[in-house]
């Protein structure tokens, strides 16, 4: 019998990470756009700040991959 718990667990790990990244990036992106409008010289810094929440989804992906590879 197929155990659905493993892929569902991996999906939750990846999905929640992606959701968190989306929420964080929406706020940082809006604030970053405002900052760049006033101070164009902060463009480079803003790109880095917007990218930082990507770590959440990367961690989610890694955890999901570990579940799939190590537990299957």
């Amino acid at each position: 019998m197929v155990d659905f718990g493993i892929p569902i667990g991996a999906g939750i790990a990846f999905g929640l990470g992606a959701l968190g990244t989306g929420i964080a990036q929406s706020k940082i992106g809006a604030a970053g756009a405002g900052t760049i409008a006033e101070k164009p010289e902060t463009f480079g810094l803003m790109i880095i700040l917007v990218a930082i929440p990507e770590t959440l989804v990367i961690l989610g992906f890694v955890v999901a991959a570990m579940i799939m590879i190590m537990l299957v």
């Binding site: 706020k27 940082i28 809006a30 405002g34 409008a37 006033e38």
Partner: protein, 350 residues
């Protein structure tokens, strides 16, 4: 409403406000020309250049900083156009309508020159430059009120209701208090219906303003020995800490010292630290200045509040207004050749 974009822009604008060291440089300038030259290195450059075509000297500074202030406030209002917060921000900006109407009414009472009255107004609220220009052209107080009524401006109502009393007493305070009361009651009634965090933040600020106005009234009433019944009608309702009962108990003390003693253990405790010589001669302007400082500091401290709320626009509007007032004070003091000590006393640092 989503404040991330708006507040980031406002924080960016805040970085262009004059800091303390730049204010010091302005204070140290020997004359008006060098003051203008220093101001041209700041964000006021654009407006100073425009104003320089038609005006010179103090008028150039006055016109430039006034236009810059109005442009800044309009920019902020445009950021949130169509959003729920627009209603809240309009409440703050309408303060300038009240201030402008009071300025025009006072100017008309003393029959000042229309251009001089217009120079003292700040068209940041509902009444724009064109409307104010039309108002200052009116020959007297009555026609100003009539014109406001014709345009359907809500502020005409309290003025019409109290005009009869004004004609009997010729006391401008009757109309001024009517306007203040109308503004604050109207603001609180709008905020009462709104249960958002932004409305709560603004309500706290409005109530502080009411408290400051009421305490100023109490001190003036004590100094002028006005009787209780007459004084009571000048209190603006809406505060919970300083309600009519508390204000009357302050009044009952009968002396400035007594009232200050009652203010201990309240946020207005700082008033007790005012030098004794001012208290002895009942110099109310010293108390008013301190309370103005308190209000500005409280408003500007909102920069430390919730970064995704209306706290940031509120703080910025106050900080910008204070900066413009400071530049005006410095420029006027340079013309009047006042001492540096007097100049520094008149400034409010944020």
């Amino acid at each position: 409403m989503e404040f991330a974009y708006v507040n980031a822009r406002i924080r960016g604008m805040r970085s262009r406000l004059l800091d303390r060291s730049l204010l010091e440089q302005l204070i140290n300038k020997p004359d008006l020309d060098s003051l203008i030259a220093e101001l041209e290195k700041t964000a006021y450059r654009q407006e100073l250049e425009k104003a320089g075509v038609l005006f010179s000297g103090i008028t150039r500074i006055e016109v430039a900083i006034r236009k810059d202030l109005v442009r800044t406030f309009r920019t902020i209002l445009n950021f949130i156009k169509g959003e729920d917060a627009e209603k809240l921000l309009t409440i703050i900006l309408n303060r300038w309508d009240i201030q402008n109407i009071k300025t025009i009414l006072r100017g008309k009472k003393i029959q000042a020159i229309p251009s001089e009255i217009l120079e003292c107004t700040i068209p940041a609220g509902q009444l724009d430059e064109a409307a104010l220009t039309e108002l200052v052209k009116q020959p007297d107080v009555k026609t100003v009120i009539d014109l406001l009524a014709t345009w359907g401006i809500a502020y005409a109502r309290p003025l019409i209701l109290n005009f009869k009393e004004y004609t009997e007493t010729r006391d401008m305070q009757v109309l001024e208090y009517a306007l203040d009361t109308f503004y604050y009651e109207n603001a609180l009634s709008v905020l009462k219906k709104d249960e958002s965090e932004d409305a709560r933040i603004l309500k706290r600020m409005i109530i502080t303003e009411i408290d400051v106005n009421n305490i100023k009234t109490v001190l003036r009433v004590i100094r002028d020995r006005i009787d209780r019944e007459e004084a009571e009608r000048y209190f603006i309702k809406g505060s919970t800490e300083f309600d009519t009962k508390k204000l009357l108990s302050l009044m009952k003390t009968g002396t400035i010292e007594g009232a200050l003693k009652e203010l201990e253990y309240t946020p207005y405790q700082f008033l007790t630290k005012i030098p004794q010589e001012y208290i002895a001669v009942e110099k109310i302007s010293a108390f008013e200045k301190e309370m103005e400082r308190y209000l500005v500091k409280k408003a500007v401290s909102q920069f430390l509040g919730n970064p995704l709320s209306i706290a940031i626009p509120i703080a910025y509007i106050w900080a910008k207004y204070t900066e413009v007032t400071n530049i005006r004070v410095i420029a006027r003091c340079k013309i009047a050749e006042m001492s540096e000590k007097e100049l520094r006393e008149a400034l409010i640092y944020v």
